[in-house]
Structures are given as structure tokens and as C-alpha cells.
């Protein structure tokens, strides 16, 4: 096998050389066959720092899901279920008791206990540059009640707190390792998940190895997991088809290819995320348009859109039209709030009523990805029929974030990957002064409803508050919700037991080589 290339070199006949070269290619092909107990996962982007406190990217969370168990998780029906915690109880609206699992150790052997929970939560709260601070900012402090019980004392009532602990804020770190490594903890994270960190080569791979001391080891069936970074979706699909990858996120338009391939299975589930158009109501000169000043004009814009047709064109109909930031599976979803149907005559009438001269020029910022640009163009064509002249401006990600943050464009087509509790998907975006309120929207009715929803632990009360908020949002339209996204993964038939939950994260429990 090793001599084929050597013989190819001195060959003088091009025909012979070519035959030898082509003949040698299959001999080099050892890579395709992965080791039996290694699971190979394709990732669309390189994760940022693998530290639950400092991480800010979704792909970072995907990898940390293998490394770091959380206090709580959720199931297919979006019910909160125990993980490192075994249960919780609000003793009053500001005191939360969390009971912990016994016999759990971190990858460095440090026992997981109430002191570790207190340490991690307070690290999220106080560490410089923490991206969890706003998520758990309502927490005052944590107290160790006994080795397996923690009391969290809130500064103010905050019902979504437990739901927040099903994401990165709930990922527990080894206090010993975190103290020793400081800000470099994320370069070799030590947590209490099923796999421990082995190595990372930036922009290439992250490798993790099964942790033998994992508390739920019976549900882990692979020795190693190899996350390969492949930003190009066509390359990811080709790797899946050729067997180099076992599992990867798939672009919506590639879903059909996966379905038709007998070696692969498509796993798809509605996500917690949504797509939306944010309308800039701020006072930047470029945003001072009738669109910002008159809700009737925004309503006319919304009525010009056919959400169903939009998703058919852009994502092969995989996404569901939506009019609120809550996934239909959530108990907080408000069924009475539904997307309005396209109505061009009414849209034109509203523009006439508002006294707007048509065509009305408006700018729409889209991120410079094929899907976003195409969405922008379809929106442009739809809105033109109602009397809008939409200028689609495709911005590179960094430039887009800055332009949006500075309020430089009339509208932005974007979205949110979504978190379990509706509060995480709405408060910052719609409340006066919210960190992600890029619409610069402010309405006391909505503020009060959103505040009420985060203060009560009663589901019916919260849903009623959200219903009030969405109805007001539907009238004011600082955001036009377009669709609920879907998580789509392609999986090799050599892998069994893979389930995808609404957050799209790759949970490795019960994933095993197919019999």
C-alpha cells in the first residue's frame, strides 16, 4: 500500500502515471472508516471559549452539552426535568430550594455538591465579562443549606429562573479547576458531563472522551466524540453521505437529499427559535420614516407578507408561520394569537389612510447568507405589491450587528435561536431598555404585562399576561414575527437512538451504534 505513490513518481507515461495515481486513491481512503466507538459530529461553526460563564455562541453550547451537565434539562413536551438537581421548590416568590443528586463527581474527581452550585452561580453573577449575568441577574445570592441542598435567594421575583438553569447558566463547573484556571478555564473545561475534554484545534475539531465516573454512565455508548468544524453546508452534507460524519446539522434545503439517501435518516423537530422583522422606531435619521412613525404603515407592511409562501420558497416549507415568540409546544403559547393572512387591498387602503405617498422607500437589513438574502428578496417582491419599495441591504455579520445596534436601518430581518422560557425570548427584545430591544420600542402596557409574566410562577397567569402583551405588540408592530424555525439534522443509519429536542442541542445520552 505504501509504495503506490513512490512508483507513481518516476513514471514517464502520463497514462500510466494517471492510472497508478487513481489506483492509489482508494488505498489512501482509510479515513472514511471511523473507529467503531467514535461518534463524528459536523459543526457549522467554530465554538468560542468553552466556558459556561463566558461562552456566547450556540455552537459553543452544542459542545458544552457533552462536557457539562446542567442542573435541569427539559423533555420533548418542554417540561423541566431533573439532571444534576433532583428537584426544586419555591418556598416563596423569592426563595428557591434546589435539591441535588448525590454521588456525582466532576471530571477532576471533585465532588459535586451545594458548595459547587453556589460557586458556579456566583461565578456567573460576578465574573468579569460573564455572559450569564443578565440571565440570572435577578438572583441575589445562593446559600448552602446542606451538602445536597441549595437555597437561591432572589433580589426580586423571577419565575423563569429554573428554566434559565436548563441552558448554559445551569451548567456546573468544578470549583477547584475553575479557581486554578481563572479566565483560561474554557481552554480545558472541567465539568460533570458524560464526556471530558481532550483537545481542541481551533477551526478544525474538538475531541471529548467518555468520563468513566459519569453518574448516568449506562446511557453513554460512545468512547469518544469528535466535533469537526465544517462551515460549508454542502461539504457537511458530502461528509455525511460519504460516512466521514455520523451526525450533523443540515441546511433546510438539503433535507430532501438526506431523506432520499437510504444510508441516512432525517431527524427534525420544531425549535424554540423564530424569525422576525424588527422595525426601528428610534430616532436615527435613517429610521425616521412613516414606517417608524405610524403603526398603520407597519400593519400594511405586515399584510403584504405571505408567511407560508415565504417559507416555501426559502426553506422548502420547513418553518411554520408564527405571530409570537413562544413555540406552540410550550405551555405558555397563546393559541388565540395567529399570523394574519396576506391582504393586499387592505394594505393599500391602510397606506392611503396614513396619507403615505407610494411607493414608500424603506431599507431592510439582512445578514449576508444565501437564505437571508433570498428571504429579503421575496419580502421585497411581496411588499412591492402593496406599495413599498424595499431596498435589501446585505451586511456581513459584524457590520450588521453594529448597524443594528446603532439603529442605522429602518428594518432588520433576523431571528433568535430561542430558549425554553418565553421570558428569555421576549423581555430583552420588547421591554423598555431591554438589552436586545433593537426596535427601541417602549409601551407601558407591554412592559407591565412582561413584568407580570416573569414574576408569577402560575402558568395560567403568565399565559394571560403574554396574551395581553402579544395583542399590544400585534397592534404596535415593533417586531413582525414571521416563522418558527426547525432543527434539522442528518444522521447515519449506523447510529441509533438520536433524538433532537426543541433547542437543537446534541444530547449524547442513549445515542449508540446501530445493531
Amino acid at each position: 500500500m505504501t509504495t503506490s505513490f513512490q512508483t507513481a513518481r518516476p513514471s514517464r507515461s502520463p497514462g500510466r502515471a494517471l492510472r497508478i495515481l487513481l489506483g492509489a486513491l482508494p488505498l489512501l481512503a482509510g479515513l472514511g472508516a471511523a473507529e467503531a466507538q467514535t461518534l463524528r459530529i459536523g459543526m457549522r461553526d467554530d465554538p468560542d471559549i468553552l466556558d459556561p460563564t463566558l461562552s456566547r455562541t450556540y455552537v459553543g453550547t452544542v459542545v458544552m452539552t457533552a462536557l457539562c451537565n446542567k442542573l435541569f434539562d427539559f423533555d420533548e413536551k418542554l417540561n423541566i426535568v431533573p439532571m444534576l438537581a433532583t428537584g426544586y421548590e419555591w418556598t416563596d416568590e423569592k426563595n428557591l430550594i434546589i435539591r441535588l443528586r448525590s454521588g456525582v463527581t466532576f471530571h477532576d474527581g471533585t465532588p459535586f455538591d451545594a458548595a459547587a452550585v453556589k460557586y458556579t452561580l456566583e461565578r456567573h453573577l460576578s465574573m468579569q465579562g460573564s455572559y450569564r449575568r443578565s440571565e440570572i441577574g435577578a438572583m441575589g445570592h445562593a446559600e448552602v443549606v446542606d451538602p445536597l441542598t441549595v437555597r437561591v435567594v432572589m433580589k426580586r421575583p423571577f419565575a423563569p429562573f429554573v428554566a434559565v438553569l436548563t441552558d448554559r447558566a445551569g451548567m456546573m463547573v468544578s470549583p477547584r479547576a475553575a479557581e486554578a484556571a481563572g479566565r483560561d478555564f474554557g481552554r480545558a473545561p472541567v465539568c460533570a458531563g458524560p464526556f471530558r475534554f481532550v483537545e481542541r484545534v481551533a477551526q478544525d475539531r474538538v475531541v471529548v472522551q467518555r468520563y468513566p465516573g459519569y453518574w448516568d454512565a449506562g446511557r453513554i455508548h460512545y468512547d469518544r466524540v469528535h466535533y469537526s468544524i465544517m462551515p460549508n453546508s454542502t461539504a457537511r452534507l458530502a461528509n455525511l453521505q460519504s460516512g466521514t460524519l455520523d451526525l450533523t446539522e443540515v441546511a433546510p434545503l438539503d433535507a430532501e437529499t438526506v431523506t432520499k439517501d437510504r444510508r441516512l435518516a432525517l431527524v427534525s423537530t420544531p425549535s424554540l427559535g423564530y424569525g422576525s422583522i424588527t422595525i426601528n422606531l428610534g430616532d436615527h435619521p435613517q429610521a425616521r420614516t412613516p414606517l417608524a412613525q405610524d403603526a398603520r404603515v407597519r400593519r400594511a407592511f405586515e399584510l403584504s407578507l405571505d408567511r407560508k409562501a415565504l417559507t416555501e420558497v426559502v426553506v422548502a416549507g420547513l418553518y411554520e408561520p408564527a405571530a409570537q415568540p413562544t413555540a406552540p409546544a410550550s405551555p405558555l403559547h397563546v393559541p388565540s394569537v395567529t399570523p394574519s393572512a396576506r391582504d393586499i387591498p387592505r394594505a393599500r387602503a391602510l397606506l392611503r389612510e396614513a396619507g403615505v405617498a407610494t411607493p414608500l422607500k424603506v431599507s431592510l437589513l439582512v445578514y449576508n447568507t444565501p437564505q437571508a438574502v433570498q428571504s429579503g428578496e421575496v419580502i421585497q417582491a411581496m411588499a412591492a405589491e402593496a406599495g413599498f419599495e424595499v431596498e435589501v441591504k446585505a451586511f456581513e455579520f459584524g457590520a450588521a450587528l453594529t448597524a443594528v445596534n446603532n439603529g442605522e436601518l429602518a428594518m432588520t430581518l433576523g431571528g433568535w435561536s430561542g430558549l425554553l422560557d418565553t421570558d428569555s425570548n421576549s423581555w430583552s427584545f420588547l421591554h423598555t431598555g431591554g438589552a436586545l430591544n433593537m426596535a427601541r420600542y417602549s409601551n407601558p402596557v407591554v412592559d407591565a404585562a412582561l413584568d407580570r409574566a416573569r414574576e408569577s410562577t402560575d402558568v395560567a397567569t403568565r399565559r394571560a399576561a403574554y396574551e395581553e402583551a402579544w395583542k399590544q405588540i400585534g397592534a404596535d408592530l415593533p417586531l413582525i414575527y414571521l416563522w418558527q424555525t426547525r432543527n434539522v439534522a442528518g444522521v447515519s443509519r449506523k447510529v441509533a437512538g438520536f433524538r433532537l429536542l426543541a433547542d437543537g442541542l446534541i444530547r449524547l445520552q442513549d445515542v449508540r451504534p446501530a445493531p
Partner: protein, 315 residues
């Protein structure tokens, strides 16, 4: 010779300094605020933005940022990646062997195809061999790397299953797998450059074959192979060497699209991701490193001229 070498080395230092000033100046023109990008979901919070700016020195004047960076550089410290907190020096050392391997393989493929094709094309000028070589060269130059890469993946990986579609294995780990992962991207990169080599070699050879010394060599009754190989080619190679150093330099600066398609973790991918994430220390480190590689190659190219053509040594 030594005086010349010292003079050339002396020119390199101001070149690198000017370049480093340019990197800093151009960074200021890039749209997008690094602090806003780094802040992620907290980007609407002015306090968070202020903290990030203070930590990354973004609240200081540009000259102060530059001075601090240059001071660290003189001490061999390229700083930390803002995004993943790894030292930039170690990131570069991690990617350098990948880029060196891919670039060298692509270069060897380009030379091995391009130079002989150019020679044959010139020797059989205006005959079928020339037309065929020209046609192939044109196809090589005009085929987009992106398309060729995807087609090769679909044929050799998905249909035939002979080669892994992407990824990278270091030579030190397993040389066969390493070749398997790099042969397709090297061919995609080298194929395009082979066409450029072919065209330049052909033009230089046609020029050389019309010279008096070639006529003299032929009149002396030397075999055609010796006339072409020893007399014409040797002189024709000088512009080809210049081209070679430029092309090799470009290859070693990273091949963005090809690395992206084949998921090769080289310089191209590193710098593109760093630019998109406004990870300035990584951008600065990679640009300086590639500049050093470029000027070193240019120096080697000049030294090669002298080896090929002794008359230049006197100049």
C-alpha cells in the same frame, strides 16, 4: 553577495513596519465594532460594552494600541485571541504546518504540470500539442476552485468513496491519511496555478527559442532535447521563478475558499474567521507572519536567479 544580502535584509524591516502600521490603519476602516460583536446578547448594555472596550484596550487611541502591540511583538508575544483566548502564536504554529503542507503540495502539482506543459507547448508551437496544452491551461485558470472542489468531493468521496471529503490529519500522525485529506484540495489549488505556469513558461520559452544562442546551439548540432532543456529552458526559467515565488507566497498565505470547502484548518480559514469575528490580534498575527513568509520567499527567489544565471551575481 554578502553586502547584497545584508542590504536586502535591511529593506525587510521597514517593509514589515510599514505593513504593521497599515494593518492597524485599515482595521479602523473595517465596519463593525469589535466590542458589539464580542458582547453577543449583551450588546445593548453600555456597561458591558465599556468593560469589553477597557479589557481589549479599544478605548485607547489607535497609536497607543499599536505601540502596545509592537512592544509585545518585539518580545515575541503576539497576544491572545479575543474570541477563544488562545495565544495567537500557538494558533499560528498550529496552522503553519497545515498551510505549508497544502501549499507545498499544490505548488509541486502546479510546477509538475505547468512547466513541462509550457515547454511542450512552446516546442510544438501552433501544433495540436500546443492547442491541447493551451486549452487545458485555460480550463485550469478559469474553473472556479469552489466548483471544482465540490465536484471532486462528489466524485471521489460521495460516489466512489475513495477519499475523505474533508478534514485534515497531520503528517506526523498518519502520513497516508494526511495525503488522503490533502490531495484533493492540493489538486484544486495546484490545477489553477498550473495553467498560469504553463502560459508563462510557454511565453518565456518561445522568447528563448528565438534567441541567437539557441540558433548557435542548434547549428552546433546539439540534440533538440539538449537545446531545449539546457539552453532555452534555463534562461526561460527566470521569469517562471519570479512567478513561482509569488504564487508560493500566495499559497502559503492561505487559500480561503479551498480551505473552506475541504475544511482544512489553515491560514486562510484562520484569518477569514478572525476578520468576521473582528478578532484583531489574530488578524495582525497572521498578516505579519504571512508577510514574513512572503518577503523571505522573495529573497529566496532573488538568490535562485543568481544560481540559475551567474551573470546576475556581478550586478
Amino acid at each position: 553577495m554578502w553586502g547584497w544580502l545584508l542590504r536586502r535584509l535591511g529593506q525587510i524591516i521597514p517593509t514589515l513596519l510599514i505593513l504593521s502600521v497599515m494593518i492597524f490603519a485599515l482595521q479602523q476602516l473595517m465596519p463593525g465594532d469589535p466590542a458589539i460583536i464580542m458582547a453577543g446578547e449583551e450588546r445593548g448594555d453600555p456597561q458591558v460594552l465599556a468593560e469589553i472596550r477597557a479589557e481589549l484596550m479599544l478605548d485607547r487611541p489607535v497609536w497607543e494600541q499599536y505601540a502596545a502591540w509592537l512592544w509585545r511583538l518585539l518580545h515575541g508575544d503576539l497576544g491572545f485571541s479575543w474570541r477563544i483566548r488562545q495565544p495567537v502564536g500557538s494558533l499560528i504554529l498550529e496552522k503553519l504546518p497545515v498551510t505549508l503542507q497544502l501549499g507545498t503540495m499544490a505548488f509541486v502539482i502546479a510546477v509538475a504540470i505547468g512547466v513541462p506543459a509550457g515547454v511542450i507547448s512552446a516546442a510544438y508551437r501552433d501544433r495540436p500539442a500546443d492547442w491541447a496544452a493551451n486549452g487545458i491551461a485555460l480550463a485550469g485558470i478559469s474553473t472556479p476552485n469552489f466548483w471544482l472542489g465540490i465536484m471532486m468531493i462528489l466524485l471521489f468521496s460521495v460516489q466512489l468513496g475513495w477519499l475523505p471529503p474533508s478534514g485534515y490529519v497531520p503528517l506526523s500522525e498518519d502520513w497516508r491519511q494526511s495525503l488522503a485529506t490533502t490531495i484533493m484540495p492540493a489538486f484544486v489549488l495546484g490545477g489553477g496555478i498550473a495553467g498560469v505556469f504553463m502560459r508563462h513558461t510557454r511565453a518565456a520559452m518561445i522568447g528563448a527559442l528565438g534567441q541567437d544562442y539557441v540558433r548557435t546551439a542548434r547549428a552546433k548540432g546539439l540534440p533538440e532535447r539538449t537545446v531545449i532543456g539546457r539552453h532555452a529552458l534555463r534562461n526561460a526559467l527566470i521569469p517562471v521563478v519570479t512567478l513561482g515565488t509569488i504564487e508560493l507566497g500566495r499559497l502559503l498565505a492561505g487559500a480561503v475558499l479551498t480551505e473552506q470547502i475541504f475544511s482544512i484548518p489553515g491560514f486562510g480559514k484562520l484569518i477569514v474567521d478572525a476578520v468576521f469575528n473582528r478578532d484583531y490580534p489574530v488578524v495582525q498575527g497572521v498578516v505579519v507572519t504571512t508577510a514574513v513568509i512572503f518577503v523571505s520567499l522573495s529573497l529566496i527567489g532573488d538568490m535562485l536567479y543568481m544560481a540559475i544565471n551567474p551573470r546576475l551575481r556581478a550586478a
